[in-house]
Symmetry: C2
């Protein structure tokens, strides 16, 4: 199911036409200089992540990307009722299932904050069909979590509880790069990010832009209007 | 105003009684092994951040800490109206002012996500009065931002706009450590974090726990009940 980890950094190969070994004996000298698999995507290296500004010759660039947010429903309420050990276990599981699915489709697990996971598709690994990849990753997150749902709740002594994941996806022009001069941080910003972050009412909800690029994969052709915080007008979202 | 940057890592000194040079010629051999000032707090080093699990001999520990969230009001609406360059500039400014204030009071700028900044006080630099430090940092963020507010709006051609920062602080037992096994990530979780994240309706709002530890610094002794998302009962917050 899960493909073999890449032996060379996919990002450096695509963007710089440079083979940077990630694993095996060839990788050893690179490790000495701090080059290793990225925590955000183990098939790319820390050069892609840290030397972004140098490679791109700009602090931020506008790129076409797909952005996915996933969060654990009822997380805030859960933190008040279960003990820290079980909370840690639950977050471990959630992050790990998200990471596996995101990496499977060459996405970048850019950030986690509490129960929120932010993934970007189309950087550093370029994909012509990055929106479809984001959607496949979202579906795999739901599948992976569902498959372990009952066993996890049983192991955690939470058999009454109902755990679910909300996922939102949008795509389009985003601003990707390093923000903040003293606390530098590689991330993505823009309306696409905010829309994805707010679109988590259903299992997987996507914007019209996502649907246009992945129409054959999505049955819902009507959509529903949602009032999203920070957006003046209702945003039409499609169940995917 | 801003104190000199520390020459030795404050975290390693306090937790391990080990002097780890951060700057100057003594730091050079450490750099070779990837030990450098942390992006989360330049007065501590990457050992504090990366080798947490080894030092603590656990993946996560329960610590008493103060947690502060700051966010830029109206950010989502702004991303829809201003261009990417000005948005980048605004986020740079916001992150930098937050970082300066947080580091001034020995806090850890743990994460940024969009317009949200998460800071932790009492790790890796231990402080008996960490709650007071968090409050002072919050006030300094507001002061710094206010001082530059008009000039920034003018430079960005946004003179009609009204920019403000919302800050929430809570304190108490939190779970601090690395979560996720494949995507390892140092952060803090628990109800204290969620409460701080939701408490951003005013300029600076703090919980009862914060007020108890910093009563002499806070004029508001009545507070107001707020319905916070994910919390069954209203939470009393005090303007600080």
């Amino acid at each position: 199911m899960t493909p073999e980890p890449a032996r060379f950094c996919l990002g450096c190969w695509q963007n710089l036409h440079m083979p940077v070994p990630l694993r095996g004996p060839l990788a050893a000298p690179f490790r000495l200089f701090g080059v290793k698999p990225s925590r955000m995507n183990p098939n790319t290296c820390t050069i892609c992540e840290m030397a972004f500004t140098k490679i791109m010759k700009a602090r931020a660039v506008t790129i076409d990307a797909s952005v996915m947010f996933a969060d654990l429903r009822g997380y805030t309420a859960l933190t008040q009722t279960i003990d820290q050990d079980r909370l840690t276990e639950l977050l471990d599981l959630f992050y790990d299932e998200c990471a596996a699915a995101i990496w499977r489709y060459d996405g970048l697990l850019n950030k986690t904050l509490g129960d929120a996971v932010l993934a970007i598709f189309n950087f550093p690994v370029r994909q012509a069909d990055h929106t479809a990849q984001a959607l496949l990753a979202a579906r795999q997150i739901q599948e992976r979590f569902q498959a372990r749902h009952d066993a996890v709740l049983k192991a955690m002594d939470l058999e009454g509880a109902e755990l679910g994941i909300g996922i939102g996806i949008d795509c389009g022009k985003t601003n990707f790069g390093e923000f903040g001069r003293s606390h530098r941080d590689l991330t993505v910003i823009g309306t696409v990010v905010n829309r994805a972050a707010r679109a988590q009412a259903g299992e997987i909800l996507v914007t019209d832009a996502v649907r246009e690029r992945t129409a054959a994969m999505i049955a819902d052709d009507k959509g529903r209007d949602y009032a999203l915080k920070g957006f003046e007008r209702p945003v039409t979202l499609f169940a995917a």
